[in-house]
Subunit: 166 residues, 2 copies
């Protein structure tokens, strides 16, 4: 008899505070990536996601994020990030830049906007100039980068690890 | 002038030891998921991956994992996990089960096989009986589960966070 009996679709963990994390994607190439990020964000109980331009979620991939996440669409991220900064959010991008911090040693603030870059172009100079911090996920092998959705996934995991109760 | 200047495709971090982590996937539905896991594993400098049945990697998604990862294909995971256990590997599954441990509080052993379950069926009873530990990634919202590749991604991130030098 195994010690481990499947209990799939267990009840979720309760948060003590609502998540004060917002995920904001620059204009991206792939709605698949955006939908994967949305699914993970929703399972993490993130309530808000910002996407740009003509991006949209695919129900088959995003699953319950379609109904659970409030997704707002903007022409570009600049003005909305400015507003969120005024509202006290720490604006944190995932990118490889000068003066970036290793995510392993980065303490997120509870009230954070996580900015996800384009698959090919990353985060533009204009948006980089609005960030409070840039975090990098270490890479040890080829290809010397993670897929954009995978990187967002890891950052969501790390944020939730630091705030398991919201 | 922004503090943050893009430095995409920076050199990777060096490992002090080769990674003693092996990723093993049960027979899965989607080669896309397997290929996404392979890309992340390769970027983490994992050297070996085990897949089952007719699974294969898609170059467009797996990228350099095609050349960098040693991928071995087996009919089923049972015999190969038995052999790896004899070789001193800790066999750890990602699944929702009784007696599972929250990944946030789980100390990986360096020499680990990470077992990834099927998208719908998870890890079978037969394979669960071979595991030393089961880890769960907390879920706070709907859908009450992560995509299989996303969960594998997060577990790879956590392992590498614990062993940044290999």
């Amino acid at each position: 008899m195994s010690d481990f009996i499947q209990q799939r679709h267990k009840l979720s963990t309760n948060l003590v505070h609502p998540r004060e994390l917002i995920v904001a994607c620059v204009p991206m190439r792939s709605n698949v990536n955006i939908s994967q990020i949305a699914r993970t964000a929703s399972a993490c109980a993130v309530e808000k996601m910002i996407i740009c331009g003509t991006a949209s979620l695919t129900k088959k991939i995003a699953r319950d994020a379609i109904s659970e996440l409030t997704v707002s669409t903007h022409r570009s991220l600049g003005p909305v990030l400015k507003k969120l900064k005024e509202d006290g959010y720490d604006i944190v991008g995932i990118e490889q830049t000068s003066n970036s911090k290793n995510i392993h040693h980065f303490d997120f603030k509870r009230r954070t906007v996580l900015v996800v870059g384009n698959e090919r172009l990353g985060i533009s100079d204009e948006i980089l100039a609005q960030l409070d911090s840039v975090i990098e996920i270490p890479v040890w092998g080829l290809p010397h980068s993670y897929n954009a959705a995978s990187a967002a996934n890891m950052a969501l995991y790390e944020y939730c690890r630091q705030f398991p109760e919201g």
